[in-house]
């Protein structure tokens, strides 16, 4: 048959499974991201704090071996206690590394596809917009888990194994709070990175925008609070909002006179909704050139 007589018709051969299709993007992207030297350096740097915390957990469970500290009595016991505050501080420090990683790794995920008009190539396959976003988020979820969830669970697991069963029974919800808090945080940071990447199309500018999102909003929130003599300005600061939610999840007393956990959670949901809307608006399989 002559070539010009061949019409395009739907592929009717065997399809790969939905999970394999979903994981196709992360599989290649992870390799590419982990080949960047700066990402590896950041990953290594991000492990120092968990190691210090693990050391602290060890000391707190072996304080009786240090006679100079007076065992686990008195003020030292309070200082060495592993509680919600300890995990809140741990999460706070690790979250900074997550932002830096997202600023480096995130912009390269969507921007090149948009800049090179490659989206039709993805959407011509059995892949919806939601699958595409989910797969791209999965890439960041995997990378950011390495600095958040994995070390967090390691430290929690270490404490659970070193302390008595009674500690685990009384504090299992700390582990639950840690996982929920980090999952929410990863979702937010990933959406910020993807939305910035889709919004500006340029990898370099998108990286700057991710940093600006967190740093400038934090500064702007502080400025509003100071100038207007209010407290609600803190709601604009995603770092503060997520920290307040973490404190609620870990049973830690949050900042006094500041917006509560539910208000912060609502604002975070609004932010996530807005970022998702930006992503959906920018990720279209067709482009209208006027």
């Amino acid at each position: 048959m002559a070539v010009f007589r061949r019409g395009y018709e739907r592929y009717d051969g065997p399809l790969t499974g939905p999970v394999t299709r979903f994981m196709a993007i992360p599989r290649f992207a992870w390799g590419k991201i982990l080949s960047q030297r700066f990402v590896v350096v950041l990953l290594v740097l991000s492990l120092f704090w968990p190691l210090l915390c693990a050391g602290f957990v060890y000391v707190s469970n072996h304080a009786d071996l240090l006679p100079n500290l007076g065992g686990m009595q008195g003020p030292m016991a309070k200082l060495l206690e592993i509680n919600g505050k300890f995990f809140a501080v741990f999460m706070n420090v690790q979250s900074t590394f997550a932002i830096l990683l997202a600023a480096i790794a995130g912009p390269g995920l969507v921007a090149p596809d948009l800049a090179n008009n490659a989206l039709p190539l993805y959407f011509a396959r059995p892949m919806s917009r939601w699958t595409y976003i989910g797969a791209r988020m999965m890439v960041l979820f995997g990378i950011l888990s390495l600095v958040t969830l994995v070390p967090g669970l390691f430290v929690f697991g270490m404490q659970a194994s070193l302390a008595s069963t009674a500690w685990l029974q009384a504090n299992w919800w700390l582990g639950q709070g840690l996982v929920l808090g980090f999952v929410l945080y990863i979702a937010m940071v990933s959406l910020v990175a993807l939305a910035c990447s889709a919004y500006v199309k340029w990898r370099v500018v998108a990286g700057a925008l991710v940093l600006a999102f967190f740093f400038v909003l934090a500064g702007a929130a502080q400025m509003i609070n100071q100038i207007l003599r209010v407290e609600w300005g803190s709601l604009l600061n995603p770092g503060f909002a997520i920290y307040t939610v973490w404190c609620a999840l870990l049973g830690v007393e949050a900042v006094e006179d500041a917006p509560g956990a539910w208000e912060c959670f609502a604002v975070l949901m609004l932010m996530l909704g807005g970022l998702l809307a930006v992503l959906l608006r920018k990720l279209r399989p067709v482009e209208v050139v006027s």
Binding site: I104, V205, G207, G219, Q222, Q226, I227
Partner: protein, 338 residues
Amino acid sequence: MLEMRRAFFSKRALWVYLLALFPAVIFVGHGISVKMQRSEFAGKSVVSAAVLDRVTVGTLDTEVLAAAGQPLLDRSWERRDVKRRTLMYFDGSRRVWFEFENGALRDTRRRELSSMEEDRKIYAGMFQYFYLRLAVFFGCLGIFINLFRGEMIDKSLHFWFLAPVRREVLLLGKYCAGLIASAVIFGGGAVLSFGALLAYQTNADLQAYWQTDALYHGTWYVISAMLGCVGYGSVFLAAGLLLRNPIIPALVMLLWESINGFLPDLLQKLSVLHYLQSICPVPPPMDPNVPPLLRLVLAPAEPTSAWVAILGVLGVTALVLYVASRAVRRLEINYGTE
């Protein structure tokens, strides 16, 4: 002209304008709120400041009501079996809130309707913590990185290189275009926010400030913002030229500037921010969010004298531009790697 038009009027410039004008907008909003409060409290009953100042922690709410009379606000509620009550009074210039728990005074908050002194400190904090550290930083990042890296991403840099102009001259031209745009935007932003700060002050306060420090302070704030554009601009221009991913040096610089206050004196002087803060007329108040433990290690270096600071930033800029000019001369365009 082409670059300047792009820096002033492109879609991306909107974000730079937003950063530069945001403080002015907030100060205007605060000004409106203060004026509304002044007119609201103008006809309200005034309680002598001496009476309100005599109230101490532990005083009963009935005693306060007997001494100060009917409050402007009386709110009661119960939470976790604790009865809480808030009474608010006005002494002509300040509002005073008394917070009671189970009938006894727990806390007192005082807030002036407006205080020039306090506003000036807040402006100094806003200018150094937000404007210089974040707005000028990210604004310059957006403007100056685009000058070369943006052209490479757009695959249009070769058009510039085909023009019969030496590359060093091209680099200088692009830098001047970015500098004029950023200096006008951020200098203008500083003028507007300072103007907004003065706009709602009382006539007496305004006149006193105007006759003493207002012009001096305003001028140095503007110079400081412009000098920030000079310093950060040159660094980001060079970063955009020398590196494929200029975000990494920007990130390092941002972190370096953020931890500046915690570093030893000598290292503090290796940052643009130190010199910009040195020429700011009012030292910033301590960030209230800094934890007490960190406050102990926070030791800002002695400010450098204004002229040394200006010459220092200009000298570093000249050096960075020289390095960039050497780099642009050897630059080979390879769009494929972008």
